[in-house]
């Protein structure tokens, strides 16, 4: 009943009593055939009643009912609003026939049109958000496409990096199978995402990875030897052997150390972007995560916050269809991840994750938008995780082998991009085999070298816990050294003191 709404605030009733007629009309609700003031019939919960005579207000919608709520809502207006609401209408004025029709409601958060029909938005749209792509399946540019033009040098660099990444993955995976490293995780199928997105960023853009983005680090200059050293956890590892393989990190390359926790990097990227915003730097932060990672609480909090704080961050979702064994349909029921951006007020785009040029263009534009407009941007790249989740996984147990084969073969991103650069005359079979062989040789040397290098020293157990080691840690280190000296023969030889 209208009265229940009014009873919420004594002030409303008091103000409305100014005009007794109006107050009565709220209940009577039938005789006032007017051009301006119409009644909140939906407040009376009459769902099936016929619409009141529509006014002369220029709108074809039959739902143009106005409500004359008084100044009661003035006090709840906050400083910032989603829409720019204008002045509050005075209910008394509504009684005059010259006053304009009020078409919508003025609640905190901005103006909103109302409707007398209880229509629920559908859980899914008939049409999914379209996917931006530049090259077709045969690597030919789609007509009437719009993309950033790239030079031959850049294109070849991108392709060769994709090949390097693929070869590196294959060889390190084999090394794990041979027992030479304890663990590995491949990026097979997502090479375009890795390399093309990295190529569109500047080196001073901070990267907050999940774990399937070593290609970004590769692009920025992390060497094959660096990768090998981390996987073997030797003393040249700039991670000091503290973490398991593939947990790369490099301050120098503005690539934050991979952490095993899923999704925690998403709010980190927002915080770092806030820092960039405060410093007014010409840079943004980029964070990567998968379809699985988008289910974490951190994802939602981060997107919401980033929109409110207006910070330059690119959220890059690698929707590869699988979160270990969880297929996308068990992960979410929304139209992928791209629609979540809208829910949080973040501009978003869906992109073909196997199309290097599309990714390059999308990230290029997103970066510009993020920095110039100081806004977060969400990119959802549709792709396929063509490899297993990691060396601890055998994905043939939960998905069909021919599906995997299809994505590793015809649909893989390298194939499509290669066709394009070959059409341009920038690449050839010879160049391909020369590059692959070269990389294979480099990798095998890197692995052999990494295997032979000593492990990190004893002191690396105790430092970096705090900026300055605490007393108990210094004591423990001293105790350990004394013990080792006493029992030197029981101490492994490849761990330096």
């Amino acid at each position: 009943m209208a009265s229940s709404c009014f009873s919420k605030s004594k002030t409303i009733i008091m103000r409305n009593l100014k005009s007794k007629n109006f107050f009565m009309l709220g209940f009577i609700n039938h005789t006032y055939s007017i051009t301006n003031l119409q009644f909140p019939r939906h407040l009376l919960h009459t769902i099936s009643s016929p619409p009141l005579p529509v006014s002369n207000y220029a709108s074809s919608s039959p739902y143009n009912y106005s409500i004359a709520f008084s100044r009661c809502f003035a006090s709840v207006y906050g400083g910032r609003r989603l829409n720019t609401a204008t002045s509050v209408r005075n209910s008394v004025d509504q009684l005059s026939t010259e006053a304009p029709l009020q078409q919508d409601l003025d609640f905190p958060g901005g103006r909103v049109k109302f409707t007398p029909k209880p229509v629920f938005t559908s859980s899914s749209t008939e049409e999914r958000t379209p996917c931006y792509r530049v090259l077709n399946d045969n690597g030919q540019p789609i007509l009437d496409g719009d993309s950033v033009k790239i030079s031959k040098e850049l294109a070849v660099k991108m392709y060769t990096n994709m090949v390097t990444l693929q070869v590196m993955d294959t060889i390190f995976y084999e090394a794990q199978r041979q027992g030479r490293i304890s663990f590995y995780l491949t990026t097979i199928g997502e090479e375009a995402i890795n390399i093309a997105s990295a190529a569109a960023l500047n080196y001073n853009d901070f990267v907050f990875p999940q774990y399937r983005e070593p290609g970004v680090l590769l692009w920025r200059g992390f060497t094959l030897q660096d990768f090998a050293d981390q996987c073997f956890g030797n003393k040249n590892d700039n991670g000091k052997g503290r973490q398991m393989p593939i947990h790369y990190g490099s301050r120098k390359h503005n690539y934050f150390t991979v952490a095993s926790t899923v999704g925690t990097q998403i709010p980190h990227a927002v915080g770092a972007a806030y820092s960039l915003k405060m410093e007014k730097q010409d840079a943004c932060t980029v964070t990567y995560f998968g379809d699985g990672g988008s289910s974490t609480g951190d994802f939602h909090a981060a997107l919401n916050f980033a929109a409110v704080m207006e910070v330059p961050v690119i959220f890059f979702c690698r929707n590869n269809g699988w979160a270990i064994s969880t297929p996308i349909n068990d992960q979410l029921r929304s139209d992928g991840i791209v629609v979540r951006g809208k829910a949080y007020g973040v501009p978003s785009i869906r992109v073909d994750g196997n199309d290097a040029l599309a990714i390059y263009s999308a990230v290029h534009k997103a970066r510009k938008m993020a920095i110039e407009e100081q806004t977060p941007v969400l990119i959802e790249a549709l792709t396929y995780r063509a490899g297993h989740h990691s060396t601890s996984d055998d994905s043939t147990k939960y998905r069909p082998v021919d599906e995997i084969e299809r994505w590793r073969g015809d649909q893989n991103p390298l194939k499509r991009f290669r066709k394009w650069i070959e059409t341009k005359g920038w690449w050839s079979d010879e160049a391909e085999s020369e590059h692959r062989n070269g990389i294979r040789k480099q990798l095998s040397q890197a692995i052999q070298a990494a295997e032979r290098v000593e492990k990190p020293p004893i002191s690396d157990i105790f430092n970096d816990v705090y900026d300055i080691p605490s007393k108990n840690l210094t004591e423990q280190e001293a105790f350990l050294r004394r013990t080792i000296q006493k029992h030197a023969q029981d101490y492994p030889s490849n761990v330096p003191m």
Binding site: G239, G271, M278, F305, D464, S470
Partner: protein
């Protein structure tokens, strides 16, 4: 007449000065002596103010810290003084803003994250531990996190089970964190300034009931360069018969218990204000036990795996031969905190519990029946 009125104001001095809403240090002068006192709330506010003025990278983030002036008014006046970029009101997501705070610390800012109470920090505990505490180590020194997580910890009065837990033992067990527990205003000022300046992540556990309590404060402590060392306990009261370790509000209780013991039993108790749970000042505690030969520990947290358990183990490891009696731990009852005032009172240590425990370790009364 103006002259007459102003003379009256000057004579009253104290009470009117208190009403002045100044963000800077609020000192009050007691009329009897020339001693300066300050509430813990003002001590924290002034410490935040000074650190934000000294370093433009320091910023505050949390629920209600800005427009509302702080849920407990600790951040009062700071939004007006430093603006919304440095005093950030957040949506309700502890996980979100803790994560964002850590991310900003990764890139050079020095956030002070406020939890409305540390009970809510459980929503963010993954970020506190996995993203903040362990980052420097896991990144091999490439990522340091100069962040401070602060807020009220432990029970208040009548706030029920989900608002009364003490987290000192939880955070105190994590390598990579520093955990501080101020008691007096001087502790609050010195330790908060030290925490903000520290390059490591710090968990700063305050106490809601202490916010309004006034303590005498020295001129040295009021100076803007004042800082207390992290990891050093303070001997609040020297004694020779028994050592009582306590932190936060329990220091006050221990001191009162010590007075009662002196007067009624002639027992001279030494009270140690821990100030720092991690690193724990084992040296001071052990030196004291070697002097007194008896120890009781007091805390408001749950008994199992508590701070007292750690102190007891430390003393057994380092000073076993010096103990003349078993160590007694006084802690909260092993129940979720009840709301009813009479039940709540029995669920937490009271002064008489401390007195009773001291008498037992001094063999002045029978030991309690051992519980499994």
């Amino acid at each position: 007449m103006p002259g007459f009125i102003s003379h009256q104001v000057a004579a009253r001095g104290l009470s009117l000065l208190r009403l002045r809403p100044v963000a800077a240090t609020m000192r009050t002068y007691s009329s009897a002596t020339k001693e300066v006192t300050m509430t813990v709330r003002d001590a924290l506010n002034s410490a935040l103010d000074e650190e934000m003025a000294a370093d433009p990278n320091v910023f505050i983030m949390g629920e209600e810290v800005g427009e509302y002036q702080g849920a407990y008014k600790i951040t009062k006046g700071l939004l007006d003084k430093y603006g919304p970029e440095r005093v950030v009101d957040t949506p309700i997501t502890e996980a979100g803003f803790a994560g964002i705070g850590v991310g900003s610390a990764y890139h050079g800012l020095r956030p002070v994250i406020e939890f409305m109470t540390f009970n809510f920090s459980m929503q963010a505990i993954d970020h506190i531990i996995n993203s903040a505490a362990k980052s420097n180590y896991m990144s091999a020194g490439q990522i340091n996190v100069p962040i401070v997580f602060r807020g009220p910890n432990g029970p208040a009065a009548g706030v029920g089970a989900q608002h009364s837990q003490c987290y000192s033992a939880w955070y105190g067990s994590v390598p990579g964190l520093k955990v501080l527990v101020p008691y007096s205003s001087e502790d609050a000022r010195g330790l908060l300034k030290a925490a903000i300046q520290d390059p490591d992540p710090v968990v700063f556990l305050e106490n809601e009931l202490l916010y309004g309590e006034s303590f005498p404060i020295s001129a040295e402590a009021l100076d803007s360069s004042f800082c207390l060392p992290i990891g050093k306990a303070k001997i609040e009261r020297e004694g020779k018969d028994v050592t009582i370790t306590a932190f936060s509000k329990m220091v006050g209780y221990a001191l009162k218990a010590a007075e009662i013991l002196e007067k009624e039993e002639g027992i001279n108790a030494e009270v140690i204000n821990l100030r720092s749970i991690r690193p724990l000042d084992r040296d001071t505690i052990n030196a004291s036990v070697r002097k007194t030969n008896r120890l009781i520990t007091v805390e408001e947290g749950f008994p199992q795996h508590g701070v007292g358990a750690e102190i007891c183990a430390s003393v057994v490891e380092d000073s076993f031969g010096y103990l003349d009696a078993g160590v007694e731990r006084i802690a909260a009852a092993d129940v979720p905190t009840p709301y009813a005032a009479n039940l709540e009172r029995r669920a937490f240590p009271q002064i008489e519990d401390i007195v009773g425990a001291v008498k037992r370790v001094c063999y002045r009364s029978l030991p309690m029946v051992a519980t499994a």
